[in-house]
């Protein structure tokens, strides 16, 4: 317990650190600046700013804003990215409530009741409850991360290559089971991602693989490049043929009366609590439960409600529960990343990309060697949530005005930002062309109902999986049964097999589709 407090203390110490800033115009004088808090604040603001643009999801926002953190020191960069992530999530819910265009799958259910509330002139309370619910969920999840972090790291140190490989298989299977749509297609996307990660030079032999003597490919496909193409450019192109303007139905009334009534609070308090618990549990699972968490929380509230018919007509529980679940899951999904070094979903995969660029290899070693980084990030999560609550509610008016910017002006601007962002990573024009190609590939994937998120996850896990597979087989002298004879690895493999069979069974598949069915209505 003492450990917990000293760790959190260290974290808050990092967040509240003051840096001496001595600009030239002060002639040698310096002012103390709370650098990390400022970065968190800017991240949350910019994240909301981009996340609020209709049709741009969380992954796209984080991918687009990745380059702006490259120039910062590692701790600051990660704190800012975490801020961007929460901001983007909050921005997504704002769009769902006000325009009925969920930016990402996780806020689809928020739109169901949130938009109805907004139409009834209760947009203020809906936004406020979303923020309060998210903040509460964030507080609980932060404590949970701090409590679970250290013991899980100890467990991770007992892992050998075989266990790591099995764990990654489990994570990918979870990603398939918890995702929407066809299981087969999701697996295919993961394998496609794994294959893409093979491009470039081999870590052990140095042989160049599938790079066709193109110098820019010798180092492999850039992670930021692929992410920006698949999520940035592809989304733009997709939104363009969806017609842009036609289906935008903005709530025209002025957002007044932000504060929820006493009755609203009383109605939503249990929903927030249940959503938080559900979200925290689903978020820890490798495979990323943020999407399914919000759907499951909504379904649960509807089942528990005395009068289920209120749902879909502006029930405040229908906003409170999924928003809390979404946020709790978004945060607890940091646990597998920080302790085991395995990204559980596409956003965390982007975080790994950012860490690698700063020369940090995520995993149990980071927790021990760079505790200020990990605990600083955990503390900044709480600060980030607080900031969203304090800044964003008063700024709702600005976000609403931003929603009125027509798409015909917005999309060329996003194209330019993405181009400059990608170019600035390596100063390589080829990267920009590659991102454009991945934009077209992403558009094609969407058209054929393939999800691009598992692809990204596969791409990040590819090199890790290959390395551990190689090592495990080398240690066992080529004996492939090593994955089944070591107890820890065997149980992980057994769970994966069990889950995969379950997902393919018709009965469970129906149940799974039932949870996602809300989005169709």
């Amino acid at each position: 317990m003492g450990d917990l407090f000293s760790n959190l203390g260290l974290g808050f110490g990092v967040v509240f650190q003051f840096v001496q800033w001595s600009p030239a115009f002060l002639h040698g004088m310096s002012i103390p600046v709370p650098m990390n808090i400022l970065l968190c604040l800017i991240g949350a603001l910019v994240g909301t700013l981009v996340g609020v643009l209709p049709g741009i999801g969380t992954i796209a926002t984080v991918a687009m804003l990745l380059p702006i953190t490259f120039g910062l020191p590692p701790v600051g960069a990660l704190i800012m990215l975490a801020g961007i992530y929460y901001g983007a999530q909050y921005g997504g819910s704002t769009t769902s409530i006000l325009v009925n265009i969920p930016g990402e799958a996780g806020s689809v259910v928020t739109a169901l009741d949130g938009f109805q509330m907004a139409k009834q002139g209760r947009a203020g309370p809906a936004l406020a409850i979303a923020a309060i619910g998210s903040f509460f969920a964030g507080c609980v999840a932060t404590v949970l991360i701090a409590v679970l972090g250290a013991p899980l790291t100890k467990l991770a140190l007992a892992f050998g290559p075989a266990e790591y490989f099995s764990l990654m298989v489990l994570g990918l299977i979870f990603a398939v089971v918890l995702a929407k749509g066809s299981v087969l297609k999701a697996i295919a996307m993961i394998v496609f991602g794994l294959l893409l990660s093979m491009v470039g030079s081999d870590i052990e032999t140095g042989a160049s693989r599938m790079s066709f003597n193109i110098p820019e490919l010798a180092d492999g496909l850039g992670f930021a490049t692929v992410a920006m193409g698949l999520f940035g450019f592809a989304e733009i192109i997709r939104n363009l043929d969806a017609g842009g303007e036609g289906d935008r139905e903005l709530v025209q009334q002025k957002v007044t009366g932000l504060m929820p009534t006493r009755k609203d609070m009383k109605d939503s308090a249990p929903a927030i609590l249940r959503g938080t618990v559900l979200g925290s549990i689903l978020g820890i699972l490798p495979g990323g439960g943020a999407v399914i968490a919000s759907f499951a929380a909504y379904t649960l509230e509807k089942k528990l409600a005395r009068d289920p018919s209120r749902f879909g007509r502006g029930a405040i529980e229908g906003v409170a529960a999924p928003e809390s679940a979404n946020n709790a899951a978004a945060q607890t999904s940091f646990i597998p990343l920080l302790t085991l070094g395995i990204p559980p979903n596409a956003v965390m995969a982007l975080m790994v990309g950012a860490m690698t660029i700063h020369g940090i290899v995520p995993g149990p070693q980071v927790m021990q060697k760079q505790p200020e980084l990990v605990w600083g990030m955990i503390a900044s999560m709480w600060v980030g949530n607080l900031m969203l609550l304090v800044i964003n509610l008063p700024l709702v008016g600005i976000w609403v005005r931003l929603l009125r910017v027509p798409y015909r002006l917005m999309f060329p601007s996003i194209v330019i930002f993405c181009c400059i962002g990608i170019y600035s990573v390596n100063n390589a024009p080829t990267d920009v062309v590659l991102a454009g190609m991945f934009g077209l590939i992403g558009y094609w994937l969407i058209k054929h109902d393939f999800e691009p998120a598992p692809l990204l996850l596969g791409m990040v896990l590819g090199p890790l999986m290959e390395e551990n597979l190689r090592r495990a087989l080398l240690i066992s002298r080529g004996d492939a049964t090593v994955f089944l004879t070591r107890p820890l690895s065997a149980s992980l493999m057994a769970i994966s097999a069990f889950l995969l069979v379950l997902a393919l069974l018709p009965a469970l598949r129906k149940k799974r589709d039932e949870v996602f069915v809300e989005s169709e209505s």
């Binding site: 999309f411 400059i420 080529g478």
Partner: protein, 166 residues
Amino acid sequence: MSDMPSHVPDDSVLPNWIKAPQDFFGGLALVAIALFALWASSDLQGMHGFSFGAGTAPRMFGVLLLVLGFAIMVVGVLTEGPSLAVYAWRGPLFVSLAILSFAASIRPMGMIFSAMASFMIAALGTHETQWKETFIVGVCLTAFCALLFPYALGLPLQMLPSFLNR
């Protein structure tokens, strides 16, 4: 997904034993990608003894993708499913052109020129564009980028065409 555009009518040219063209052609493309990857990694060394060669993992994933692609094709033949979606040409074409123009001009022409040019090309991607408005926004955005990236973010980008810098 509800925002998918309408699908092509049933009297398309596709043979009718393909019950779900979307899945069938999706799987077909994956098979093609897998075959291409297998061909591209065919010159790499395979297993030697207990240890993996450079080509082992790519080939493993390639074969896996091949199998999965075939499975998706089979599903597309056997079960009813959505037909091919309609592709728009205007958005993809002009956004791609804008990206290409940026990539081609950033080195010789600098950021200010290439950002402005790409903005105007990308704006062709929708028929809703009004030129006067687009031009003004483009100028403002370019100016904003010229301040944001080099000064606020400290990224060393070349602003002006390189022949002016000499």
